[in-house]
């Protein structure tokens, strides 16, 4: 086994164990931390695929930002895990059965039988799809910039999907605000601007009264 393979299997196994722990561990904070470990292992695997930019982004965005927010939410909300686990045992046998069937199918179909590697040169072109097995991709040259190629692809070939993804993000913002923003009327918050603009007739009422004798 080559060094690269050792690294691959090490991180792949670590990733699977961590992913399994995310759904089996009882404490939600621990689950979130295991998810962080899963992401880090994934990013190592991406590094090995020479997708450096994506690997760094995964760590920066998911581990650095998203998971921190996630932890905040988990710690701020008092989620009752036991009530969420109700009915879990009831569905376990069916779940295991389906998962097992899917797993076997995946090994047979997506495994090396059909998508294995072979030691010939990869031909890109009209015959690409006529190959049954796939050749090892040639390693990129030293001056190859992953980030640059990604940027090029996004802003040329994938410009249209990129714009649609931007619209989806806009919809997500509108959705989050319209579902979560509540104007509370019962708070005693002061608004200085309104306080300054107050006029005499807003507050004072002069009542004419008969003079008492």
């Amino acid at each position: 086994m080559s060094f690269v393979q050792v690294i691959f299997y090490l991180f792949a196994v670590m990733m699977l164990v961590a992913a399994l722990r995310v759904i089996t561990v009882r404490n939600p904070v621990h689950a979130a931390l295991f998810l962080v470990l899963t992401f880090i292992c994934t990013s190592v695997l991406w590094l090995m695929l020479e997708a450096e930019f994506l690997a760094i982004v995964l760590v920066l965005v998911y581990v650095g930002a998203v998971m921190v927010l996630f932890l905040f939410v988990v710690m701020l909300l008092n989620i009752n895990i036991e009530s969420l686990r109700e009915g879990f045992v009831q569905y376990v046998p069916v779940g295991i059965l389906i998962a097992l069937a899917l797993f076997v199918q995946m090994i047979i179909i997506v495994g090396p039988n059909h998508f294995g590697l072979q030691d010939s040169v990869l031909t890109i072109g009209p015959n690409y799809f006529a190959q049954k097995n796939f050749a090892y991709p040639a390693p990129a040259a030293a001056e190859y910039s992953n980030t640059e190629m990604l940027g090029r692809a996004i802003f040329t070939d994938y410009l249209y999907p990129f714009e649609i993804a931007a619209v989806i993000l806009l919809v997500a913002i509108i959705a989050a605000i319209s579902l979560a923003l509540r104007k509370r009327t019962d708070t005693k918050r002061q608004n200085p601007a309104q306080q300054i603009q107050v006029r005499k007739q807003d507050r004072l009422r002069i009542v004419k009264m008969e003079a008492e004798e």
Binding site: Q105, I108, I109, V110, H114, F115, I124, Y128, F129, A130, Q131, K132, R152, T156, D157, Y158, L159, Y160, P161, I164, A165, V167, I168, L170, V171, A172, I174, A175, S178, L179
Partner: protein
């Protein structure tokens, strides 16, 4: 890497216009006070009208591509997009008075509705699997939010949650299928994938594995049995103003998605997916029509009737002939118009604090409001497939297409379940015409909604008498 030709942008003018106006309306709405909220509604309708005109200006006789052929503009795309605009405009018309009476008349409804419509347009014109997926997500995400818009209602929130989780699973299935197709072909371009499926040296089983995931994803989005669980809960739980939108226009987009994926991408596997769709169609026809009988809530009943009608649309697609595709296309457009009208009547009958959800609420409608009872009669007869209404022609076209490919037993099953289904449509007509009213049945809706509903009913009637025009468009899409 091909160069980018800015002339191609002209083909996307309707999409760009909808996006721009949606953003504009979003900003304008912020500066409107509560009593001027109608301005948002009028602006939305105006933008739909101009989008319609812009789409009509596009050349419809040739197939055109843009953005490295990830965008396709063919006759099917133009006809379906125009149908989506009309149905969306109608849904907004019906939604406004209802939203006002439940104190939910917010600009976000129209903005999210426009974004959902943009997602449908992207989906209809997708010629790239990634674009197709993104269009689907844009549509679904907006719809989930619309269902949850009444956030103080536990029922709506539950419906939105179910819709969201099941929708996410469906998207996951679809993506997994697409990822295997990418592994087979090394491309996401629909024509390239279709080409590599035809010439693939992979074992058939790999293609079938991808196909089964894609069929599951499509069936989830269409709401075909056994992937229909979300349909009744979402239809019933959502505010009726949202149900009228969720139940109509997205079906047209879902039909386009099924066509692009099954026929456009995996057309070579027709023999395989025909069997899968037969199972889905028979189950949908059976369960939809039989369970609808047991419902006393009209929204839930219409949800089960949707499932039955999806069976018919699937029958048209599975025939695999041009006649079948155009019949299914005709069916999906007509179905959207009929459901729109049926939910429109449900909204018309409701008033503040009264939902008109129960079948008994329609008792004696003819005595009080004969015109709207007649409209409901038109929609119900059309949904049941009674000639000379348009629903009859839709069913007839699908049955004829199925008979042409020698699936006589399937046609017989469909007819039998349609007869079963006629029962619950006729029951509403019986309640309206032969029972006496229990309550006063007040209608307090503004004139524009009454006019829109009348036009909707007359359209269903008119298309039934003269189905040739729409049928001709549908046929030219696959000629």
């Amino acid at each position: 890497m091909n160069g980018f030709d800015s002339n191609e942008l002209i083909l996307l003018i309707p999409e760009i216009f909808v996006l721009a106006t949606a953003c504009l309306i979003l900003v304008i709405d912020l500066f409107l006070s509560e009593q001027h909220r109608n301005v948002t509604f009028y602006l939305t309708q105006l933008s739909l009208f101009f989008t319609f005109l812009l789409t009509l200006e596009l050349p419809s006789d040739t197939v055109l591509y843009a953005f490295n052929s990830s965008f396709i503009l063919d006759t099917m795309a133009i006809v379906l997009k125009c149908a989506v605009y009309v149905v969306t405009a109608g849904a907004f018309c019906y939604a406004r008075p209802y939203l006002k009476q439940i104190d939910l008349h917010k600009g976000e409804f129209y903005v999210l509705g426009l974004f959902a419509m943009l997602g449908m347009m992207v989906l209809i014109s997708a010629n790239h699997l990634l674009v197709l997926y993104l269009g689907l997500e844009l549509m679904s995400l907006s719809l989930y939010t619309l269902v949850a818009l009444n956030r103080d209602s536990a029922q709506s929130t539950e419906a939105a949650m179910k819709y969201f989780v099941l929708g996410a699973i469906a998207s996951g299935m679809l993506l997994y299928g697409i990822s295997i197709l990418y592994g087979i072909s090394g491309s996401l371009d629909i024509p390239l994938v279709a080409d590599s499926v035809t010439h693939s040296l992979f074992d058939r089983i790999v293609l079938l594995f991808a196909l089964s995931f894609i069929v599951v994803g499509v069936a989830f989005k269409l709401g075909a049995v056994p992937f229909h669980m979300w349909v009744p809960d979402v239809y019933q739980g959502a505010p009726t103003a949202v149900t009228v939108f969720v139940g109509s226009a997205p079906k047209i987009a879902a039909f386009a998605m099924a066509m692009r994926l099954l026929v456009g991408t995996l057309g070579d596997l027709h023999a395989e997916w025909q069997g899968m769709l037969i199972v889905l169609a028979v189950l949908s026809l059976g369960l939809g029509n039989v369970v609808a009988i047991a419902q006393s809530n009209i929204k839930r009943m219409l949800a089960y009737s949707t499932i039955g009608h999806i069976g018919f649309i699937l029958m048209g697609v599975l025939s695999g002939t041009a006649a079948g595709f155009s019949a299914a296309m005709f069916y999906s457009i007509v179905y959207a118009l009929m459901t729109l009208g049926a939910f429109g009547v449900v909204i018309l009958m409701s008033r503040a604090g009264f939902e008109a959800e129960n079948l008994d609420d329609y008792k004696g409608l003819n005595e009080k409001h004969p015109w709207f009872a007649f409209m409901m009669l038109v929609f119900m007869f059309s949904l049941a497939g009674v000639p000379p209404l348009v629903g009859f022609h839709a069913k007839l076209a699908v049955l004829r297409a199925v008979l042409e490919v020698d699936l006589v037993w399937l046609a017989i099953v469909a007819v039998l379940f349609s007869v079963v289904g006629a029962f619950y449509y006729l029951r509403i007509i019986k309640l309206m015409y032969f029972d006496s009213a229990e309550s006063e049945l007040l209608i307090d809706k503004p004139l524009d909604m009454k006019v829109a509903l009348s036009l909707n009913g007359l359209l269903v009637l008119g298309l039934g008498i003269m189905p040739g025009v729409l049928m001709g468009w549908c046929f030219s899409a696959f000629a």
